[in-house]
Symmetry: C2
Subunit: 372 residues, 2 copies
């Protein structure tokens, strides 16, 4: 097989009575010519239709199938790649895209993270040897002043990054422009007091026509990064912002979940660990095991691995474990996940009467890691 | 309850041992404050947190739950609405968004289809009283000349709209600019011969930075509409193009499927019938029952109804039944769905040795509907 082909490994659950080989062949057609056998020239059959490379049992009713596709189908454009990965087959059932091997010819289209793990650490004051701490100013419905007060408390407590809650966008109680000014001001004031380097990342989720303006507002306010929700805004927003914004991109998983359901979809380790990384996220929030969302710790470890491991010339991106990470559980997660990670902790800090104090306690726990 | 609230009806499958009421309350928190009870001011509890309005059994292990939210959470911006509809809860399981009642204050943010059913009929030569016929130039891998030849055959046969296949974007064998020129030319030549009004809609799926240029190329070539894949490119691409392109938008469902799986997601009738309509699709392709994708005929009828029915000042959009509609089955679908529809027929025309003749036969069947 040529090095120039895209290899996709699927976990299939064939319908009752359906042969795994037939299902595999149907996918190879659906994702390419979208026509029955024989309704296209022989040349297309040889050069374009996916080739079923391997079919094997994967336990229970599941089969692991590998299909290869010519790299020209994806070329170097993200919508082509996404369509090849999970276009029409998304509308079927029982298909999990487990992993994808992209040849250099396809990877060449993706610059990946502009800052990556190292760039995020440098921006946070060249923090080394310990996990980073992220929290959010919340909830939606507060005024800019109230959100800024929480930003200040989190910054004084020693959070490395304070982000807008992902649901805080441009609602009446706290319009974007005013909120960014107040929150950034509060974080800078806190830094001036503590000598710290906390960064404030505003949420730039916006209608397409307003995105550029919001990013400009964030940059002009002095923010060094932004929160982006690529599943809400279109995955292709990441390469666009990575190329043009000059800002660190922290990706939020909202609206992603239907894409990675257990029996059908893209695995979290592929979606968060590979796809968001090549698309240009510098730090990737995923929902951690043991929180409010159903995901296994093994899968989370795979996400961490995918984001960190060497991969062509694509910079590593920082894993961000969130979605119900309790402050008290952080030490055990560090033991499992290591130090090259950021923890997104919200509720358990807010549940105390002392946001600043609870943040400081957690930050101190993380600091101790640096000297272990 | 105020007229100013967003009402969302969910079908829930609670986890074993979980009360439906508790699950409903958890959703009301997750989709708003994203904090446990008590970790936010009383004012926010009263004004922002979703209110569980109704909980009732829906058969089997399912419950129908209605939660209302203040319209300010969605405001008039699409990313805010999408996040409220299925943001963080997308990452959970057993939640189907069945229907949504949007107050005028939210609808005011959406212009809806610029052309709608009537505009599409006018553009196709003021076709009245019969369903429209759409087909695709395919497969990917052909040269611009070969695709243009198929466009010509489909146009001479009497298709109303000939679109690019959704997987044909900007790959090496048929780069966008050259393909659009050849295909549009072939359709215009066919029209000159037949006196017909066939339209060619190129597929503008593109990296964000190139979208505007592709739309301009299509417009300058004289195309009156384009194929758009909002699930690949971000749903918000529809209002952006509806406002700026001046072109008819034909929406393709590729990459949508994970969003509407049977036990978790947005129902097809909401996703295709309501959401794409307010976002500005003039014609909406959905996968029809009886084809290659699992969907019920009742749900397809509901999509048709949602797209056509009066809804505030939002124009009706044209339902487009596709995804394996066989030419031979079209008369029975007309009986069921009525005439205000477009059929997207591909494979069964290509499976004959005579693309033009097969198209003509189907077009004649549809013509006869006009005089029934």
């Amino acid at each position: 097989m040529s090095d120039d082909r895209i290899l996709i490994t699927y976990l299939l659950t064939p319908s009752p009575g359906e042969r795994a080989e037939d299902r595999a062949r149907a996918i190879a057609l659906e994702q390419t010519v979208e026509l029955p056998e024989g309704c296209y020239p022989q040349r297309i059959r040889d050069s374009i239709v996916g080739r079923v490379e391997n079919v094997e049992r994967a336990g229970g009713a599941r089969w692991r199938v590998t299909i290869s596709y010519p790299s020209s189908l994806a070329g170097t454009e993200a919508p082509q790649l996404l369509n090849l990965l999970f276009g029409n087959i998304s509308m079927q059932q029982g298909i999990v895209v487990e992993d994808v091997d992209l040849p250099e010819r396809v990877l060449a289209g993706y610059a990946g993270p502009r800052f990556g793990i190292d760039g995020v650490r440098v921006a946070c004051g060249d923090v080394r040897g310990r996990p980073l701490l992220c929290s959010a100013a919340k909830p939606v419905g507060l005024t800019p002043e109230e959100l800024a007060e929480r930003c200040g408390a989190l910054a004084r407590g020693g959070a490395d990054i304070v982000k807008d809650d992902h649901g805080v966008m441009n609602q009446e109680p706290a319009p974007f422009r005013e909120r960014v000014a107040r929150c950034q001001e509060a974080v800078l004031r806190a830094n001036a007091g503590t000598g710290g380097h906390t960064l404030y990342f505003p949420n730039v989720a916006a209608p397409r026509s307003q995105l550029e303006e919001r990013v400009a507002v964030a940059r002009e306010a002095g923010c060094e990064g932004v929160l982006v929700s690529p599943f809400l805004m279109g995955l292709d927003v990441l390469p666009a912002l990575a190329a043009s914004s000059g800002l660190i991109l922290l990706a939020h998983p909202t609206f992603s979940g239907a894409l990675s359901q257990p029996g059908h979809g893209l695995t979290p380790s592929f979606l968060f660990g590979r796809l968001l990384r090549i698309l240009g996220a510098d730090a990737v929030i995923y929902v951690n095991a043991g929180g409010r969302f159903p995901v296994s710790v093994e899968e989370c470890s795979r996400i961490n691995q995918r984001l960190r491991e060497p991969w062509s010339r694509i910079r590593p991106a920082l894993p961000v474990a969130g979605g119900g990470v309790d402050a008290a559980s952080v030490p055990s997660w560090i033991e499992r996940y290591g130090s090259d990670i950021m923890f997104l902790v919200g509720s358990s800090l807010y549940a105390t009467d002392d946001l600043e104090g609870a943040t400081r306690a957690l930050a101190t726990t993380l600091e101790r890691q640096a000297s272990v």
